[in-house]
């Protein structure tokens, strides 16, 4: 395994004990330590059988320490399994898990109408028959029972291939506050009626795989040019009133320089496009040739800096928030109001206000008085006791369609207008065998439902070793 420069030279700072990771070869749990070298932080571990490994987990600004926050102890999901082999083999969740759920993915098919070179789910081709509506309906009730009021994501494979999708959405909306569709958009672009049918079924919004504004990007990541069909999918969603979030898989050297173009396209297509959700590529499932080259992968701060640098001043690092739900090294988010002139006004005000995203030691909403603050301070928005619930509410405000009926006064009119002006930029830095920290897995709130009746943290579910052997996922 190739790595970035090993953090063994002078300048290594403060090993932090009691961390755990996995051997990228055999996925065995190992003690690990975080070491810092200049502006980068590496995860080091030593497998007795396969040797030393160093995975880059942080590079650049925001500073690692400033981004780190104290962790409150949130309510946990009831354990569905017992601790037998230890994290991450007992999901889930097992008694070691330390977080509730805000999102549950349900893969309703393994079939796909693409066969992308990059696919963490290794989807595609002919598969066994999909579970039918009755079967899935029962499982939805089980998810509701296990996870509570989460955002339910229909995923796959390509979920629009499931013949009962409208019925599944109707059933899910009866149980969950919001239903999201994770799709490549091919059928949405090709089928004139699909977007309307999905809206009428109760779909809340679409997570549209949208890797860039140039077809050569799609050829590299998806195997064929797809820009036109994806733009057509957005057009049909606009006609149907179905919100869309653009979701690029980011590979350094492929589309990381296209982020500014993606932002400008997204803004031009708002309010149908509600925002960007950036997903740096992981070394899971199928991947590009040379997949072990560490230069293909972007860390969370590198992604943050890239979107800011390419935004022509619209997006600034000091507007960024660490998450209130998942581990702080898993995501960041920006939320803006888009003005008629095209400016982006950061929500939660300016730096002199108490709830500023910037580090504010005396911020009114700081948790310092309750649980203390990490030395050196942290970004605001501390992990609350119920971050999962807040996360569900926040994504609904950001991505749901504003109600256009029932406007009775100026407050209603303002709320409807303000909702249409919100534009969010979010990033989820998934973990893989190069960089997995079990601390982050145990704090995960994004689960995959695995039959029968298990909720597995997303990154654990999709974890594969360097040779592609899955930790949890079954063929």
């Amino acid at each position: 395994m190739k790595t970035r420069p090993a953090a063994t030279a002078p300048g290594v700072l403060r090993p932090i004990p009691e961390r755990q990771s996995l051997c990228p070869v055999c996925l065995k749990t190992l003690p690990a330590e975080l070491v810092r070298r200049k502006d980068s932080v590496f995860l080091l571990r030593n497998c007795p059988e396969h040797g030393e490994f160093s995975g880059l987990i942080w590079k650049g600004e925001p500073d690692f320490d400033a981004w780190t926050r104290p962790r409150d102890t949130p309510p946990r999901l009831p354990a569905a399994t017992t601790s037998a082999r230890g994290c991450p083999n007992d999901c889930g969740p097992c008694p070691e898990h330390r977080q509730r759920a805000c999102t549950v993915l349900f893969e309703i098919t393994r079939r796909c109408n693409l066969n992308c070179p990059v696919c963490f789910a290794s989807s595609g081709g002919a598969r066994a028959n999909d579970p039918d509506a009755e079967d899935i309906g029962q499982r939805l009730h089980r998810i509701r029972s296990l996870a509570g009021e989460v955002v339910l994501q229909f995923s796959g494979g390509e979920p629009t291939l499931h013949p009962d999708l409208p019925e599944l959405i109707r059933r899910a909306r009866a149980l969950f506050p919001a239903v999201q569709l994770n799709t490549n958009g091919v059928l949405l672009g090709q089928d004139a009626d699909l977007a309307r049918i999905l809206v009428d079924s109760g779909l809340s919004w679409v997570f549209l795989q949208f890797d860039g504004t140039q077809d050569d990007i799609y050829v590299k990541l998806r195997g064929r040019p797809l820009l036109d069909v994806k733009l057509e999918a957005i057009r049909r969603c606009r006609e149907a009133g179905l919100p869309v979030v653009l979701v690029p898989t980011l590979a350094a050297g492929v589309n990381d320089k296209d982020l500014g173009n993606l932002l400008r396209l997204g803004l031009a297509l708002s309010p149908t496009v509600r925002g960007l959700h950036l997903q740096p590529m992981t070394l899971s499932g199928r991947n590009l040739p040379g997949r072990e080259n560490p230069d293909l992968y972007l860390t969370l701060p590198e992604t943050l800096q890239a979107i800011c640098a390419q935004s022509e001043g619209l997006v600034r690092p000091e507007h960024a928030f660490a998450p209130c739900c998942e581990h702080e090294r898993c995501s960041f988010h920006f939320r803006y109001r888009k003005t008629p002139s095209g400016r982006l006004l950061p929500l939660r005000g300016t730096e002199d206000e108490c709830c500023s995203p910037r580090f504010a030691p005396d911020a009114c909403c700081s948790s310092a008085g309750e649980g203390g603050r990490a030395e050196g301070g942290s970004y605001a928005d501390p992990a609350g006791a119920d971050g999962a619930r807040r996360a569900v509410e926040a994504v609904r405000r950001a991505w749901e369609r504003g109600e256009t009926t029932g406007v009775s006064d100026a407050f209603d009119a303002f709320i409807a207008k303000a909702r249409s002006e919100i534009f969010s930029i979010t990033c989820m830095a998934f973990q893989d065998c190069r960089n997995v920290e079990l601390e982050r897995l145990r704090g995960c709130c994004v689960f995959v439902y695995a039959h029968p009746d298990r909720l597995i943290p997303f990154c654990a579910y999709n974890m594969t070793s360097l040779d592609g052997t899955p930790l949890h996922r079954t063929a």
């Binding site: 929500l347 939660r348 509410e393 407050f411």
Partner: protein
């Protein structure tokens, strides 16, 4: 405090300072750089504005959440 169409009504409130009944009058709602005009129960003499509890805990809170990303 609402009529059948959902509009806020002044009800039987009387301004404690002026002793006159509140009336439904235009008021400017200003919050974090955004402003809009809305009819609220106000004193026609001194201009004091009454915010009903259901408004404070309902639509006003929703506006705050939208603008603050609470």
């Amino acid at each position: 405090m609402k009529n059948e169409s959902g509009e806020i009504q002044p009800g039987g409130w009387i301004c404690a300072n002026c002793g006159v009944p509140l009336e439904l009058l235009p008021a400017d709602a200003i919050y974090m750089g955004s402003s809009f005009q809305v009819d609220l129960p106000r004193c026609p003499a001194c201009g004091v504005t009454f915010i009903p509890q259901e408004l404070a805990e309902g639509k006003m809170l929703e506006v705050e959440k939208l603008l603050e990303d609470k």
